[in-house]
């Protein structure tokens, strides 16, 4: 186990100033790093969560700019903004940025920050592996994007179908870099999945049974199981692709007798669970936000939890609905068609639960609530168009048209992105101690809501009119006439995308404004229900002064309110404030806390991965250097106790807590 470090008193007295004195292994352990080093070598789940979030947001902006360029190109007939080649790179990298470099890490950001707080733990199960996960994502993301400067980015679409992914069709190194980059970010996801599953299953505080866990924690748990089993499959596919492109294997060359469907199956066995990996965290966020602002418990908590788990299971049995047009045969098509219709049921259950949570509640339309309601509405639209895809004959008509693009943007933007923004506004005071500005928030929400409907709504029409995806131009001659002509709706869509971008800009302005002008947030600004609000804003390094014992679902709410109603009527009476509860906790503070020690090895190990990647593509010598660093880091890591040893510190000044130093020597394995 890992949450061990030099014990520090939990009370307000600051930790004794310690500085590294002796070396351990090759480097001196950064036990008392300050400034930027405090962030770079940190293993604290909260710092890593923020770092995940900032990096993911940066790639959200990169992916957004890529999207704007695509829309600018398609605004009018025969667009001149991008060349055909650049357009291919643009839509490939737009999807890659949004899926792998924004949505997945943003979910990791919130999960990292909030899950230990929500289950009453002091950190995740494996803090150093957590740091490795972040740095592998960070270097992997940069690695993927270096392709822009090394002869062109990947251009085969994010699904990277053979034969478009083979060297004759894509001679630049873009796809090699893309494939290796995704393996590296896959390592990040994989380690993160193991870490978070162990954390949720093993590190819950006293009384926090599985069915008392907040829904966000539940959904993240489901998602991490999906990640755990989906990432290895895409890794196999990517490895085969690299072997084909770099070492002349022929796994995907139909001319050599290969099966063109192999890649498609491997990709979508990963790809469909991936869809739920992207959207379920947002479902979890909404299930937290709606009850708080409706001042009602979540309607049918077990249904929401088990429908989430059901989505996780059924999500493995629907992948071939992405391949209806590839000639699978009637039996496969029928089976996957029915399974796809079936998966709409647990999703619909959630929509019903959210709606009934709001029903009869005392609704407060804060920005977080607006985004949450926005998700319920927009995701339902996307879900309905999704059901039309499950009907195979209808799907055959829609395949590779803008109708598909409309569908998945409604579920991913309307689902995942709106959910994340609900989460930003809801948890900002928890994470940064300041509430985001509500007025700017409203501008942010409405611009994004109008923008997204203007951008993606017309794509239904464009698609049903037959405009194919991934075509870099559309021509006037084929645009048609009247209300349904492509020109009008493409222009609307492009205008919408810029309104959407303006909405995102509002968010950035809001962040800047809040951190310059806003006063500190109150302790419990939303009258929240779950455990993460039972500590300071932002939380202390050790999260809780004393770990709370949980007696009920929505523990925090039940500590604040007493139900004095009789029978079925509920009459809530406030019995305590958040300040009272915090004061009580501080009064019973645990002493001798063990927090994980910072370490160099995660970042060093992660840094070796892109080097190995460049080695495979360009020069084996770089790869050898990478492998050496990898081996060095692995041994350094293995030899380093998760507890910093006493010799890492200056001798401590004698103080009242005599045994403190002795505690630090007790070992733990990670």
């Amino acid at each position: 186990m890992a949450i061990i470090e030099r014990p520090i008193p939990a009370t307000t007295t600051p930790a004794p100033a310690v500085t590294p004195s002796t070396s351990l292994g090759v480097f001196r352990r950064p036990v008392a790093a300050r400034g930027w080093r405090e962030w770079v070598f940190t293993v604290d789940h909260k710092k890593l969560g923020i770092m995940y979030g900032v990096t993911a947001m940066a790639f959200f902006i990169v992916g957004g700019i890529e999207a704007l360029l695509i829309r600018a190109q398609l605004a009018g007939p025969d667009g001149k903004v991008l060349s055909a080649d650049l357009y291919n790179q643009m839509f490939t990298m737009h999807a890659t940025s949004m899926v792998f470099l924004f949505a997945m890490p943003m979910a990791s950001a919130l999960a990292n920050y909030l899950i230990p707080l929500q289950i009453g733990a002091r950190d995740v199960a494996f803090p150093r592996i957590n740091a490795l996960g972040f740095w592998a994502f960070f270097f992997g993301a940069i690695f993927v994007n270096t392709a822009w400067f090394l002869g062109g980015a990947a251009d085969g679409g994010w699904f990277m179908y053979a034969p478009n992914s083979s060297v004759p069709f894509s001679p630049s190194h873009g796809i090699d870099i893309w494939a290796i980059g995704l393996i590296i970010t896959g390592i990040s996801s994989q380690t993160g999945a193991i870490n978070l599953i162990v954390t949720v299953l093993n590190m819950r505080t006293k009384g926090m049974s599985l069915m008392r866990m907040p829904v966000f924690t539940w959904m993240i748990l489901v998602v991490q199981f999906l990640v755990l089993f989906a990432i290895p499959v895409i890794t196999v596919a990517l490895v085969l692709l690299i072997f084909q492109r770099e070492f002349d294997a022929t796994f995907f060359s139909v001319a050599e007798g290969a099966d063109p469907l192999l890649w498609q199956h491997l990709f979508w066995i990963f790809g469909h669970p991936e869809v739920y990996i992207l959207v379920l965290p947002a479902f979890g966020i909404v299930s937290e936000v709606l009850p708080v602002f409706a001042k009602k418990p979540l309607f049918g908590y077990p249904f929401v939890v088990f429908s989430g788990a059901a989505i996780g299971f059924v999500g493995w049995g629907v992948w071939a609905h992405h391949m209806f047009a590839s000639g699978l045969g009637p039996v496969s098509v029928a089976v996957f068609s029915v399974a796809t219709m079936a998966i709409a049921v647990p999703t619909g259950v959630k929509i019903v639960n959210w709606t009934l949570t709001m029903w009869g509640g005392k609704l407060r339309f804060t920005t977080a609530m607006l985004f949450a309601i926005g998700l319920v509405v927009q995701f339902t639209i996307g879900g309905l168009s999704g059901v039309t895809h499950s009907v195979a004959p209808s799907d055959t008509q829609q395949t590779d048209t803008y109708y598909i693009v409309a569908h998945f943007h409604y579920v991913l933007f309307g689902g995942a992105v709106l959910g994340f923004f609900a989460g930003f506004y809801y948890w900002w005071p928890k994470i940064f101690g300041k509430c985001l500005n509500e007025k700017l928030g409203r501008w942010n929400f409405w611009l994004m809501a109008i923008g997204m409907n203007m951008t993606f709504g017309p794509m239904h029409i464009i698609g049903l009119q037959g405009q194919p995806r991934r075509m870099y131009v559309w021509t006037e001659a084929r645009a048609g006439e009247g209300f349904f002509n492509l020109g009008f709706w493409n222009l609307i869509s492009t205008i919408g995308s810029f309104i959407l971008a303006l909405g995102v800009l509002m968010f950035l302005i809001n962040v800047w404004y809040t951190h310059r002008k806003a006063p500190p947030a109150p302790l419990d600004p939303w009258d929240a229900r779950t455990l993460e609000w039972m500590t300071t804003n932002p939380p202390k390094v050790h999260n809780f002064d004393s770990l709370p014992t949980v007696h009920a679902l929505d523990e925090f709410f039940h500590r604040k309110y007493e139900d004095v109603g009789e029978g079925d009527s509920h009459d809530l009476r406030q019995v305590a404030t958040a300040e009272d509860l915090l004061a009580e906790q501080e009064a019973n503070a645990d002493h001798h806390l063990h927090m994980p020690s910072p370490s160099y090895w995660p970042i060093v190990l992660a840094f070796s991965l892109p080097l190995i990647g460049y080695g495979v593509i360009y020069n084996r010598l770089i790869g050898v250097v990478g492998v050496l660093i990898l081996v060095l880091a692995a041994y350094g890591w293995a030899m380093e106790p998760s507890v910093a040893e006493d010799s890492d510190y200056e001798p401590e000044l004698p103080s009242g807590d005599g045994p403190g130093t002795a505690l630090a020597t007790t070992g733990g394995a990670e």
């Binding site: 186990m1 890992a2 949450i3 061990i4 014990p7 002091r122 199960a125 999945a193 193991i194 870490n195 599953i197 162990v198 299953l201 590190m203 006293k206 009384g207 926090m208 049974s209 599985l210 069915m211 755990l228 089993f229 989906a230 990432i231 290895p232 499959v233 196999v236 596919a237 085969l240 072997f243 070492f247 002349d248 294997a249 022929t250 796994f251 007798g257 290969a258 099966d259 491997l266 014992t549 009920a552 645990d590 001798h592 806390l593 063990h594 293995a638 030899m639 380093e640 998760s642 507890v643 040893e645 005599g658 045994p659 130093t661 002795a662 020597t665 007790t666 070992g667 733990g668 394995a669």
Partner: protein, 264 residues
């Protein structure tokens, strides 16, 4: 599901008796009375080492009140499920590895008949030779069990002995694979000869890399045991490496059956 703790782990109250009781974080409670017979037989749970690390005063250790979460952190005695974090993580990792090999095996099964007239599985495989090397690998699982067993008895000398033998058996297997690959290559089955050869070398190569990583882990573990540099619960570390090793063995049983024994 009930509102009670759904997992069968330690009831929360068991954490609290640690208060006031002598509770050495680095000494499992069952290791307290063990007699250390030889110098080599250091209890695997770690003896409290005298020296500067413990602050020079042995009494300070035992008198110290223990924080409730202290036991959580060491060897995972008080996790919510009762399974230690490390072991749970290893099982999850092995679960994901199943999907990795699942993908590779599927690819091989799809392509094993596609060799367009050149060397195919039926012409190239030397079943008796590979059977012997498979037997060697299977026996290494037995020696790994003996190593884990010795570790649970805190028998450091035999633990190291069996770990080294396990590594040697694994190396023999890898040697056999290297010989096999070389002879196949001499017979004209290169990596890019056919879809069959590419998928065969990819699958068995991935397995070989896994065995090699396992050998490195075994030998590193021996080295770290000798120099007393294994952090945490040493018995559990041996067990974790053992889990990985058995997994690699089981995967080989599947590969050997599907690739070598079932006729194409």
């Amino acid at each position: 599901m009930s509102d009670e703790q759904t997992t069968g782990g330690t009831p929360p109250d068991e954490k609290t008796p640690g208060h006031g009781a002598p509770d050495l974080g680095n000494e499992p409670s069952d290791a307290g009375n063990r007699v250390v017979e030889t110098l080599d037989e250091i209890p695997m749970g770690g003896v409290p080492e005298p020296g500067p690390a413990s602050g020079g005063t042995g009494t300070g250790l035992t008198d110290m009140p223990s924080a409730p979460e202290q036991r959580d952190e060491h060897g995972g005695h008080a996790t919510s499920t009762g399974i230690s974090n490390n072991k749970l993580a290893m099982w999850l990792f092995l679960g994901s590895e199943c999907l990795l090999f699942g993908g590779l095996i599927s690819t091989y099964m799809l392509y094993r008949g596609r060799h367009s007239g050149s060397l195919g599985p039926d012409q190239i495989f030397d079943i008796p030779f590979t059977s012997v090397s498979s037997f060697v690998l299977l026996m290494s699982s037995l020696t790994m069990v003996l190593a884990v067993s010795a570790a649970s008895r805190n028998d450091l000398r035999n633990t190291k002995l069996w770990l080294v033998i396990t590594a040697l058996l694994g190396t023999t297997f890898i040697g056999g694979q290297a010989y096999e690959f070389t002879s196949f290559y001499r017979e004209g089955l290169g990596f890019t000869t056919s879809l069959f050869s590419s998928s065969f070398y990819t699958l068995t190569g991935f397995h070989g890399v896994h065995v090699t990583v396992g050998i490195i882990m075994l030998l590193s573990l021996v080295g770290m045991l000798s120099r007393n540099r294994v952090p945490g619960d040493r018995h559990e570390v041996v067990e974790l490496v053992g889990l990985y090793w058995h997994f690699v063995d089981i995967v080989w049983i599947v590969i050997f059956t599907l690739v070598y024994l079932i006729p194409a």
